[in-house]
Symmetry: C2
């Protein structure tokens, strides 16, 4: 049933807990065959690479694609990469066996296909640009708000990797000099305010300072020792003042971050994805836009810089990785 004219590539989103591989038609974005699997990071880099190989083979088989139709494999990983060499620098959440691990070579050895590797946020940005909320834009910035706060930059239609391959670290732009400590060890960075971790920290601080919140009793009712998303969502729906204030602060900081990026780069569109936005949708972005627009220096035409939710959800990584594979290996 395959059209021999199709341009196909395989995209893999390799996360710390699960992996997802898909054969992607890079002209339409359609996923023709897919495979999911646990990552089992505890087994180490070599064993995980074998599991990726298996998932890719399974996705190819399900797609019915012929080898000759496949340009190659793109992989997004949760950490920094030497892109040109296809070598992982480190994956903090997946153990030391990933330090300087030659993932591209190892996968090529197992699959007999060329492989390119990049970080998960960059491949997500490419996915949203090619087939998601940033379609058709020349310049775009994607931001993903989850436990952390990452970003990817598209300039002239292509991923902007930067001189050292470390562009797009929006979470470490400074919004509050001398402010809250960030996970990176420095103070005042966007991630310490606008990420889910920042929201949790603000809630914990408020509770520690004696403010009343339903959070402790919700956690006890659910038998949780950590503040999981479901508890956060429930507290927000209940109108818990501490939770609402913490989320609103995170939205304001995200608006300031977007304004900083727009005043610097003046892109056509800012695409915002990640857990917080996926659950609340465009409603999450209403106060974000208000703050951002207020701080745009060029206000004359401010409606023209769109701030929109991501469209591809979890699939952005695999789809974007496939697009990158097509661009780099095709």
């Amino acid at each position: 049933m395959m059209d021999l004219e199709n341009d196909l590539a395989i995209g893999v989103d390799l996360g710390a807990t699960s992996m997802y591989a898909a054969v992607v038609d890079v002209t339409t974005g359609a996923r023709l065959g897919e495979a999911k699997s646990k990552t089992r990071a505890d087994l180490g880099a070599e064993a995980v690479t074998a599991r990726v190989t298996k998932a890719v083979k399974s996705a190819i088989k399900k797609s019915g694609a012929k080898r000759s139709q496949l340009v190659g494999v793109g992989v997004g990983v949760p950490g920094p990469v030497l892109t040109q060499q296809g070598v992982v620098i480190s994956l903090t959440n997946m153990g030391e066996s990933w330090d300087s691990f030659p993932l591209a070579d190892q996968l090529t050895y197992g699959l007999g296909l060329p492989v390119t590797v990049d970080n998960d946020v960059n491949v997500g940005a490419v996915g949203e640009h090619r087939f998601g909320a940033g379609r058709g834009a020349r310049d775009m910035i994607a931001m993903f708000v989850g436990t952390g706060l990452g970003g990817g930059i598209i300039l002239n239609g292509r991923l902007h990797a930067g001189f050292r391959g470390s562009a797009g670290e929006v979470g470490h732009m400074i919004l509050q000099a001398g402010g809250v400590l960030c996970g990176c060890g420095e103070r005042g960075h966007a991630e310490a305010y606008a990420s889910r971790t920042g929201i949790e920290k603000a809630i914990n601080t408020a509770i520690a300072e004696g403010e009343t919140s339903v959070i402790p009793e919700l956690m006890e009712a659910e038998g949780r020792s950590i503040l999981v998303s479901s508890v956060l969502d429930r507290a927000y729906e209940m109108g818990d003042a501490v939770t609402v204030a913490a989320i609103h602060a995170a939205q304001e900081y995200l608006g300031l971050l977007i304004a900083s990026c727009v005043n610097l780069l003046d892109p056509e569109v800012i695409v915002v994805g990640g857990g917080m936005v996926e659950r609340m949708g465009d409603a999450y972005l209403v106060p974000v836009r208000e703050v951002a627009y207020q701080h745009f220096l060029n206000k004359n035409d401010m409606q023209s810089v769109r701030i929109v939710p991501a469209e591809l959800g979890d699939a952005s990584g695999a789809v974007g990785a496939a697009v990158l594979a097509y661009q780099r290996l095709g």
Copy 2:
């Protein structure tokens, strides 16, 4: 004496108080003929345009260049421009007659040469990239610290204008959410901290709060009612604690601003120019680098992002304007 193979363009730096025109050899950066003149902004846009025409003709005459060697004219102006149309949007310091003024058309009418217009900071960035401290870099950000704080971005060797032509506004990136009021009307922007205006504001605040400073007596001795550069420099040399603290704070904020830009774009080099840096030289950048490097997310290789003083001084605008003319009109 002219080499007929030379590629020549005229660059004009049009400021609120003076203008400078130069015939530039865009392959070497050499200025072959130049003319300076008062701007006389009080006369209005049409009369100033006539003065620019005269300065350009004078520079051409002094250069000995033939008309056939001249690709066109580039003009840098102190405010926003519709680049494609060559229309000035507004020049706040030069009066309302500049609102929507078709400068490129008016100059072409008087000179018989094609004309391109951009803002002064963008042309300065192009000058520093082509012949100054950013030579050979693929990606570069220039920042000019004066009364205000402006920037220009070079990506893939070319000026990055942005979707609405308003990229590079580093002075309006947020560094201190809810902080000091900026000239633009919003709070916490870099310009309110890291510019000369920010330094003055910090000094005035400290004195108003009762701190002891030599500034008031230096101003009286010089018969000044405003804090001019010479007074600021003298107070700094004398080790006046209020002045030293204010300048040091500005340097720290500039370091944070550079870190935000590097974490977002990961360029090869940051070039810093403008009055403060021209007077103090590389010494101004020592504490700036320290703060910036501390906040780089990618520290492994941090020495590779250079933070250097501009090299062309006052000439960067005219030289860059000539280079832009060559790129756009050649």
